[in-house]
């Protein structure tokens, strides 16, 4: 099955990003294709490479980056939401990209499921 994910909250402040990640991992483990993770609202801040959490904590942007590169998951931040929140190409973690809402529409159409995580 092909699954798209929509993530609407930023990292650390809400659990949404953690749940989305755990869900994506489990879906891949079960043999599904996680086609894309689309970031909206504060969700766009998931992919800033500038984050520098404590050593003993998870690094959320690095984790998305790894998921993207290892399993071909597109990790995409909405451009309008990104501009409002200070996310641009210079700060993007590897494997992520900035795109428009049209791409989300494509994701919604081409996947069997779109699962939303947020606040």
């Amino acid at each position: 099955m092909k699954i798209g994910i929509l993530l609407k909250e930023g990292p650390y402040n809400h659990q949404a990003s953690d749940t989305a990640f755990k869900f994506a991992e489990a879906a891949i483990k079960k043999g599904h294709t996680v086609d894309a993770v689309f970031l909206y609202n504060d969700g766009v801040t998931n992919v800033t490479k500038l984050m520098d959490p404590p050593q003993d904590d998870r690094n959320i942007s690095a984790r998305w980056s790894e998921l993207s590169q290892k399993h071909g998951v597109e990790v995409l931040a909405c451009i309008a939401a990104s501009k409002r929140r200070g996310i641009n190409d210079d700060v993007l973690v590897q494997g992520s990209a900035i795109t428009g809402l049209g791409t989300l529409t494509d994701i919604a159409i081409r996947n069997d499921r779109l699962v939303t995580f947020g606040d």
Binding site: F23, R113, T116, G118
Partner: protein, 97 residues
Amino acid sequence: MLHTINKSPFENSTFETCIRFLLPGDPILFIEDGVYAVQAGNRFSAIIANTLKNNPVFALQPDLTARGLTVVTEGVQCVDYEGFVGLVEEHQVNSWL
């Protein structure tokens, strides 16, 4: 259709709102702070028991464990992230954020 709820019913109306739109047979899955709804013996146990008459009710076990909730209202089924994926395989998803 799978309905997911991620807010504590004590602080937020999402749970009450969601169940108004629920059709018989459709499953609910409680995740994140939503899992406080299924803790046995709290203010919402009666509503959960009532919902169970027509709808299967699930809760995400890792979220229960993280919150120290060891006893859930009778009839609630606990699933891990793979079980969450399993529910998504069977149903379109309605995430009540």
